[in-house]
Assembly symmetry: C4
Homo-oligomer: 199 residues x 4
């Protein structure tokens, strides 16, 4: 497997993420009826869609940076990548669950959203580990990642959001928004590494 090209893995992942991000919009049911009321009732579904859209956008962005810094991949990396895509593919399902009628007011859908987020975060961590293992501890990617503080904080916040949803779903949503905002800033570690390499 030494000769496997990261290109096709990247292209396939991009394809899957492009479909996920678009399918999600399709899960947002158009308002029932032609009134402004019907449109307003749709607002929670739209907001959770916006959150999930940004969520997938962040993963796409980080995934892009990660693979740009990767020179070697093997079967373990490929399956770790598919594992991540599996969790991401569950995002449209929880999005459409939380966005349906008044589900967003209840703890279980809010907690389930966090569980999928946690699954994706763990899968991403495992993907990074498998890439470092395939490229060696001295590789550019290993040095670039260093200690993954932001990744650990995300994991902790998603893990906390699951039980806290039973106190109030709003705490969980606040945590999801916080994690998202934290990641909107692109990963400086890898970004810097690129500049070194290419200028």
């Amino acid at each position: 497997m030494a000769g496997m090209h990261s290109d096709r893995v990247e292209t396939f992942s991009d394809g899957v993420m492009a479909v996920i991000i678009t399918l999600m919009a399709f899960g947002v049911k158009p308002p029932e009826g032609h009134t402004l009321d019907a449109l307003v009732k749709m607002l929670p579904a739209l907001l959770i869609y916006l959150l999930s859209f940004t969520f997938i956008g962040i993963y796409w962005n980080n995934h892009h940076h990660l693979f740009r810094a990767t020179h070697r991949i093997n079967a373990a990396v490929m399956w770790a990548n598919l594992h991540l895509l599996f969790w991401l593919s569950l995002i449209p399902i929880v999005t459409s669950w939380v966005g349906f009628e008044d589900h967003y007011k209840w703890p279980v859908p809010a907690a389930a959203y966090g569980a999928v987020g946690l699954g994706a975060a763990i899968a991403y961590t495992l993907l990074v580990k498998s890439i470092i293992k395939a490229n060696g501890d001295d590789s550019a990617i290993a040095r670039a990642i260093g200690s993954d503080v932001k990744g650990r904080i995300s994991l902790a916040m998603y893990a906390a959001a699951i039980p806290l949803a039973f106190l109030s779903p709003w705490i969980s949503y606040a945590l999801y928004v916080a994690v998202t905002l934290m990641w909107l800033v692109p990963d400086r570690r890898l970004a810097d590494d690129f500049i070194e390499h290419e200028d």
Copy 2:
């Protein structure tokens, strides 16, 4: 982020737009029943689908020209691009809303269609600005864009179509068709720039 390649951003955007344009067709429900009447009842849904298909086609075309003329992208460009894709991803939802039963006769769906069009137009303007900022005021792209008359007219027409829908939805649809026809002619500014570069 200096080293980010516009290629993958372009490919991802293409993927998203390809899925949007196709999913939209899926939002067009097949006629109920096997009669000619059932087929005729579907006509408004088909026409609004044709409008939205052309709308996405125009954005794909302009996006293509814009990125062809772009040499440097950064994180701001990438998020401006995702922001545009977000608005485009709402097009299938409003299309299927307007196309459902007799919704096209009512002001709110017609206005919502304009709101999404306006959002996409603003997002495109921001994307152009972020690209110019990343490439410098003296760059080919900055010179090529010049004063974006066509973009400003579009913005004004979408903004006007929203309140006018409450007078009559037909005024709004007329405006949407007008904007679409105006853009069917490819953007000469960038097109000329290409010829210079490549011949």
Copy 3:
């Protein structure tokens, strides 16, 4: 527009066709209930899906050959291509219409299937014409196409199938299958041209 690359048009078209071919399967509703009877009831839907799958497969194949032989594209080609994709995007809708319950037994759905097929065939003819115009009458592509006998026969058969559906839908389906079988053999004209060019 002289500098427009056919690559991105091809990639976008491929993306759209890949989504169409897959979405169509999604339009095939799983059987209702868990019995063999339920599965058997689904058979017409499966057969019409198989026909449409092959139909899109043929277009993908011919499209691929056409663009391989194309050196120059312009705005007219691009819009002729989107026009073709528009008709192809209606295939899942008629497929799921014809495949629903006993719709296949009735003339209007069978005729509508032919109308979409006719639209796609006309769009393909226009696309070929626009490509020849962009490349000149002396271009390899113009010589390769020659007189498009197969294309003309397809047009005639789809045009005939529409009124004949009102005599019996089975005549129409027989014609659709015949056109499909005729095209399953890849287009020798362009294929030969490739061999010349590349060996």
Copy 4:
């Protein structure tokens, strides 16, 4: 057709598989209601989705290795490939059929899942044969494949699972999981061949 590039066939296949894998998630209906019970009821649908996701992942992986080792393709290969994609495109349908309500407890859906798996396995075998024929018995790919033991075992297991579903669907599911686990290990034959070629 001698000049046909395997690249575009690969890209198209990747696109189709990316859409299949994502659409499948869309076929998993979100829980009805906001309770934990509703979520638990969804578990069988999630498990069969996980199985099908892995199934498509394996085909994507093997397909990737197969085409990496392929130098020449022709029309027969292209249609053999589309034939494989046809069977894969039926996976979301059987997945959503088996995953609906308590369908997983009944023999016909379980057997149908096996029938589609068998169809895909046969289609893959035919694809391999057509590739070997196009490349010659002395080609790297022909030597690399050798006697396809794993492929034959899969065929036998799927063929056995269909009648055994009428004894108990659980035997069939056990066989599907067994085939999947067997393939999770990447195909050493082609992998070794790569190392030879590229290092």
